[in-house]
């Protein structure tokens, strides 16, 4: 068996008496899409925040490519190879699409201390950025202000910025949220190909997308992983049906 790219071991996070994550151990293997599903308030976002470094777990470890990154700040995790997309777009809205992507490319170089030559005239940065935008299909809107993009285009840009980092693993927080059926179909196809480049930990509400994409699914309920398995296993799992999917799934 191959070693996981990203793994959490016994992650526990409490807010007062509320247990948001309880002994969560999940892993992400090369080439797979591992979806995390669960009802609202199940602790999916809290889990992502701990993996990406915005929240510190009370106990447990997070490993990226075998290295313990639990105590490291967000930026160090990004440099170690974690590419994250946000549920609510966290883009620089006044900047153009290209500028947002160039920012990602700049972050990947780790050297923002260049004060004189224009960033957009830097061929290396620009190439990485344009290529990422091309891959998600945003070529036509490169010099549009991000604030003027449609909701779906912003989602695509989120993915493009993560691509510029050339990460070892992607962590995507509801990339399909708010996309129309056409949009989520396109993104589903794209993510399906992307997994061969770097595995994806996918938190998603859109069950059609999850069932179409996921190699494995973990179900989170009240902060606990109640089941992990293939799509079929999860669909058949009694506890999951009861807690989440309902009888019609």
């Amino acid at each position: 068996m191959t070693d996981p790219v990203l793994a959490t071991h016994g992650l526990t996070k409490t807010f007062g008496s509320l247990v948001a994550s309880e002994d969560v151990s999940i892993d992400l293997k090369p080439g797979e899409i591992h979806a995390v599903i669960g009802p609202n308030g199940a602790g999916k976002t809290t889990l992502i925040a701990q993996i990406c470094g915005t929240l510190t777990p009370n106990s447990g470890r997070i490993e990226l490519a075998g290295v313990d990154i639990t105590g490291r700040p967000t930026r160090a995790r990004a440099l170690a190879g974690l590419g994250r997309t946000f549920q609510i777009s966290a883009l620089a809205m006044e900047d153009t699409v290209l500028e947002n992507a160039v920012l990602g490319a700049l972050g990947a170089t780790g050297n923002p201390w260049r004060f004189f030559k224009p960033a957009l005239k830097n061929i290396e940065l620009r190439e990485v950025a344009e290529q990422a935008l091309h891959r998600v299909g945003l070529d036509d809107v490169m010099s549009t202000r991000t604030a003027e993009l449609s909701h779906g285009q912003r989602r695509q840009l989120e993915v493009a910025v993560a691509l510029t980092l050339q990460p070892r693993a992607f962590v995507m927080d509801e990339p399909m949220a708010g996309l129309g059926s056409e949009g989520s179909k396109v993104l589903t196809e794209f993510l399906s190909e992307l997994r061969s480049e770097a595995p994806i930990l996918l938190v998603e509400h859109d069950m059609d997308a999850v069932f179409a994409l996921a190699d494995r699914i973990s179900v989170l309920v009240y902060g606990k992983v109640i089941a992990t398995g293939s799509v079929d296993e999860i669909k058949r799992d009694e506890a999951v049906r009861e807690a989440y999917l309902g009888d019609d799934a």
Binding site: L91, A92, A119, L120, T164
Partner: protein, 327 residues
């Protein structure tokens, strides 16, 4: 709508045309006014880097303006009294040389900005405003109580400092020095805004979370911006003291911090020429309305109110509309 580029050219033309006219019609006072405007503009170009690009609302930039002023005052005072500034651990003498004074102002202001910035940047929002203000007030009261350098009365420098090859006491020549420095600062600040550093800083203002997620350190980006910003404002302070041949605690006052910010708001926050337009309008109002009434600040306040209410991008925003996207 006028293009921003044309407006900038028009403003520069005024900065050359008015002093040239004043020179030929023998109106040295007008040249001095324009020098004052150029120096204020320079101070605000400094603040605009922190405020406009980095989103750091510093209400304490008088700390750097005043420090630059005192660096000039103290160095020149020791030179004119022929007393050494320090004898230990090595001999430091005063100087009347402008380039040396500028370099010292830049370095010391940068150092002070590093100290103030490292502490203040732990806070955000209104706390950041208050803590920067508090630092400037500390400098203000320190300068008042330091009687060796005049305390409350300030320091007078009898002869303006020297610049190799120029007669700095000639108003038009001193104006030229200040204007060239302003141009250099504008050029650097334009380059910086478009540089990778500027791109990252600009994004850090809009979405710090994003900048951290691509692996960059937002705090350090902001600190470096604050240091560069403070250094430029400090240099302006040294020139201002040289213009007046006098430095006093007023240069550290919170009113001055506020005025520098007002220049930027009048002209346009984050716009390259915002500080220049603002300083020009301020000096013009101060001159024309100040002649009519002691209470001319009322009209300044009114103008500020109108601009904040109706033109988010300051005067440049009103005249030229939104900033063009870079491509």
């Amino acid at each position: 709508m006028m293009s921003e580029r044309n407006l900038n050219i028009a403003v520069l033309a005024m900065f050359i045309g008015i002093p040239a006219w004043a020179y030929f019609s023998d109106e040295p006072f007008t040249i001095t006014l324009m020098t004052r405007a150029a120096i204020f503009a320079l101070a605000a170009v400094g603040l605009n880097l922190a405020l406009g690009v980095g989103g750091l609302v510093s209400l304490g930039h008088a700390a750097f303006f005043g420090l630059g002023g005192y660096v000039m005052g103290i160095l020149a005072y020791h030179a004119q009294t022929y007393t050494p500034l320090a004898e230990w651990p090595f001999l430091v003498e005063g100087t009347k040389s402008m380039p040396v004074i500028w370099l010292a102002s830049l370095l010391l202001s940068a150092g002070l900005a590093w100290v103030i910035g490292s502490l203040s940047l732990r806070t955000t929002g209104v706390y950041f405003i208050m803590i920067t203000l508090a630092f400037a007030q500390m400098m203000f009261f320190f300068s008042i109580s330091w009687s060796a350098y005049g305390g409350e009365d300030g320091l007078s420098i009898y002869v303006r400092n020297n610049f190799p090859g120029l007669n700095t006491l000639d108003p038009i020549q001193f104006f030229a020095i200040c204007f060239v420095i302003l141009l250099a600062a504008l050029f650097l600040s334009a380059r910086l805004a478009k540089s990778p550093f500027g791109l990252a800083l600009n994004a850090a203002r809009q979405s710090p979370q994003r900048v951290e997620t691509v692996g960059l350190n937002t705090q350090r980006l902001k600190l470096v911006a604050f240091v560069i910003s403070g250094a430029i404002t400090g240099l302006a302070g040294a020139l201002f003291a040289d213009l007046n041949r006098f430095v006093s605690p007023t240069m550290f006052s919170w009113q001055l911090s506020g005025e520098i910010m007002v220049f930027i708001i009048i002209g346009g926050v984050g716009r390259l020429f915002g500080p220049v337009v603002g300083a020009l309008v301020f000096v013009a109002l101060e001159h024309f309305l100040g002649g009519l009434s002691e209470f001319w600040h009322i009209y300044l306040g009114l103008l500020l109110l109108l601009i904040v209410l109706f033109g988010k991008g300051g005067l440049i925003g009103l005249i030229c509309g939104r900033e063009k996207v870079h491509d």
